[in-house]
Amino acid sequence: MVAEKKAKKTADNINARLALVMKSGKYVLGYRQTLKTPRAGKAKLVIIANNTPPLRKSEIEYYAMLAKTGVHHYTDNNIELGTACGKYFRCCTLSITDPGDSDIIRSMPQEQQPAA
């Protein structure tokens, strides 16, 4: 029960933080561009929707591991992730290159740790 409530709270948290990044920071949406950003060393956080094909998911995780970038597995699917970004299209992967005013970078990895 407590775990469920916490999960819901963190989902809202990340949505709010994403909205802030959309407004104030720099990001890239889409598979091709999110592969480019860790290669260039520019990605700060990579977010993957939960219904990305497992091969693609592991490929992005591998790139992020090589670049020592955090990966966040979004708890919803690509439709929801697109909506969370305020876009009218689906988005399976996104990469944050500059968080702007948001504290998404600092808080997300901490939540990742217990899961990992």
Partner: protein, 136 residues
């Protein structure tokens, strides 16, 4: 965070004639150049992997089966899959560089230099993963 497409990194070639082969980044051009406005790298890789050898084989057979055919190519980063492995072989920068692709004689010279270095490294038994064919 950390840029990882650096020289010495082992990459897999994803497309073209050498698809599925392992290669080493010799020099990377992250921001591209005039005629290639995208991130790309000069890679040196293995075209034909050395065959399996066993203890019961004679010297001559061993030598034949340890031959490596190499290639040099300039590839877009999009067509490379980086790995966590790296091999540090120092290729002669004068022999293996970007200008060789204009002249076939220079290109084969570069390939021979790469081949020699690869065979030398294979014989020492280091970087075993690099000299094994990727099964897919």
């Amino acid at each position: 965070m950390g840029k990882f497409m650096k020289s010495g990194k082992v990459v897999l070639v994803l497309g073209g004639r050498f698809a599925g082969r392992k290669a080493i980044i010799v020099k990377n051009y992250d921001d591209g150049t005039q005629d290639k406005p995208y991130g790309h790298a000069l890679v040196a890789g293995i075209d034909r992997y050395p065959r399996k050898v066993t203890r019961s084989m004679g010297k001559k057979k061993l030598k034949q089966r340890s031959k490596v055919k190499s290639f040099v190519k300039v590839l877009n980063f999009n067509h490379l899959m980086p790995t966590r492995y790296s091999v540090d072989i120092n290729f002669e920068k004068t022999v293996v560089n970007k200008d060789i692709f204009r002249d076939p004689a220079l290109k084969s010279k570069a390939r021979r230099e790469v081949k020699a270095k690869f065979e030398e490294r294979y014989k020492t038994g280091k970087n075993k993963w690099f000299f094994q064919k990727l099964r897919f």
